[in-house]
């Protein structure tokens, strides 16, 4: 038994099996491999994609990577619809079920700690985009020249085109500064208020507009760990905090498996864990 198995996530034993909708990387269905009180959700993958050498090449292929990432996420999503799970990083591959069992043994403590800590919780992503007014130089249309009819009246406008220009620039600059300050204040408010109704939060690096396909400047990219039963309230809170005015945009994604919160208490090369982590670790062991 040396076929390659791709491991998506680890759970506690659960009823009903992996949902049929969970089609894995490469199109084969995902299935559970149970061992020693833990379940690895896996699917068979082809050696010509996932042996070391080809995998390294494949990872350079954006289309392949995108499809693999989407398949990985869709299996994880299907699993968290039926049970709590800790997701693994993309492209964790074992040789046969014996390899999967070895992985579960090696990571037993980490898996149980994380499963206990993250039990009943999901991740919501909240991003804030600022869409400040365009630069005045690049958008002359926002500062229209006086209509021909007006010019015949003479007066101040015609007498001081330079002053008008400076005034327009000042207004534009002020409005841009205002919208930056507005976005900054909103980002802080969102983060503070939402952290209050979450069990944890993590800030991600703001995304580039290109990769994210989104317009505007991503000023906040946060993940929140929320109890499942409190998810409705959380989503409601995001809606309440979302302003209706132009200049900013709030984007909510989820519920995700708690990707951003996995392994936070027990990283491999971290300094000694805090008391809280120790307590959680003890609870984890006591639970098994």
């Amino acid at each position: 038994m040396n076929e390659l198995l791709y491991v998506y996530a680890v759970t506690r034993p659960f009823e009903g099996g992996v949902p049929a909708a969970a089609t894995g990387v490469g199109g084969l269905p995902a299935r559970p491999v149970e061992h020693n009180g833990l379940v690895a959700v896996v699917s068979d993958v082809r050696a010509e994609d996932f042996e070391e050498a080809p995998l390294r090449e494949r990872l350079e292929d954006l289309e392949w990577l995108a499809a693999t990432a989407r398949a990985h996420e869709s299996v994880v999503r299907a699993v968290i619809a039926v049970t709590g799970a800790v997701p693994l990083r993309l492209a964790t591959v074992c040789r046969g079920e014996s390899g999967v069992r070895r992985l579960l043994d090696e990571g037993n403590h980490r898996f149980t700690t994380n499963l206990d800590r993250l039990e009943g919780r999901v991740e919501w992503g909240v991003k804030l985009y600022a869409e400040p007014d365009p630069e005045p130089d690049r958008a002359p249309a926002t500062a229209p020249a006086p209509a021909p009819g007006q010019q015949t009246h003479g007066g101040e406008g015609a007498a001081s085109p330079g002053r008008d220009y400076l005034r327009r620039r000042l207004r534009s600059r002020q409005s841009r500064e205002k919208s930056w300050a507005h976005a900054d204040a909103l980002a802080r408010r969102l983060h503070t208020e939402l952290s209050r109704c979450a069990d944890g939060q993590r800030l991600h690096r703001p995304q580039s507009g290109q990769l994210a396909r989104a317009s505007g400047v991503n000023v906040l990219n946060a993940a929140f760990l929320v109890r499942r039963e409190e998810s409705d309230a959380f989503v409601g809170q995001v809606e309440r905090l979302t302003p209706r005015d132009a200049g900013v945009r709030v984007e909510l994604t989820g519920p995700w498996a708690p990707y951003s919160f996995a392994d936070l208490s027990d990283p491999p090369d971290a300094p000694p864990p805090s008391h809280q982590d120790e307590q959680e670790a003890h609870e984890g062991r006591a639970g098994t």
Binding site: V7, F50, E51, E52, L55, R56, L59, E60, L62, L65, A66, A69, R70, H72, E73, R77, I80, V82, V86, P87, L88, R89, L90, A91, V93, C94, R102, E106, G107, R110, F111, R173, E177, W180, H204, P206, Q207, S208, G209, Q210, L211, A212, R213, R228, E229, S231, D232, V235, G236, V238, E239, T242, T253, G254, P255, Y259, S260, A262, D263, P268
Partner: protein, 128 residues
């Protein structure tokens, strides 16, 4: 905006609509890292995410900004972002200086501050 309902909230945006950036951010950067039997150097994955940003960003950005686009892309370095902040800062400082100049007309004692006092002294010296 959709509101999730039920004990297990339904995915906010299921299927292919979910942004690739959001997915990659999680499946490449987050989640439990544990070595399987096929060893992928984690450094390779780190490099990969950086390369990815380059690849995806270059399609649009290269058109806009030409060959040196990466020097200005906020996704690649915090440099662009901090440059932007520096510019805003300098702009604000200029405006503060302008406003100070306006609000302390000549003849009136400048409102404290060693620099202002020194300037005042110098002016008096020059005048004498």
């Amino acid at each position: 905006m959709t509101t999730a309902t039920g004990r297990y909230p339904s995915p906010y945006d299921s299927g292919g609509g979910t942004d690739l950036a959001d997915i990659l951010e999680r499946v490449l950067d987050k989640g439990i890292v544990i070595a399987g039997d096929i060893r992928i150097n984690l450094l390779d994955i780190e490099l990969l995410t950086i390369k990815l940003r380059l690849i995806v960003a270059s399609v649009d950005k290269a058109k806009e900004m030409g060959i040196d686009w990466w020097e200005h892309d906020p996704a690649l370095s915090s440099g662009a972002r901090s440059r932007e902040l520096e510019e805003r800062n300098a702009e604000l400082e200029r405006r503060v200086a302008e406003l100070q100049a306006l609000s302390s007309p000549s003849g009136q004692e400048p409102a404290g501050g060693r620099a202002a006092t020194a300037e005042h002294d110098r002016r008096e010296r020059d005048a004498s």
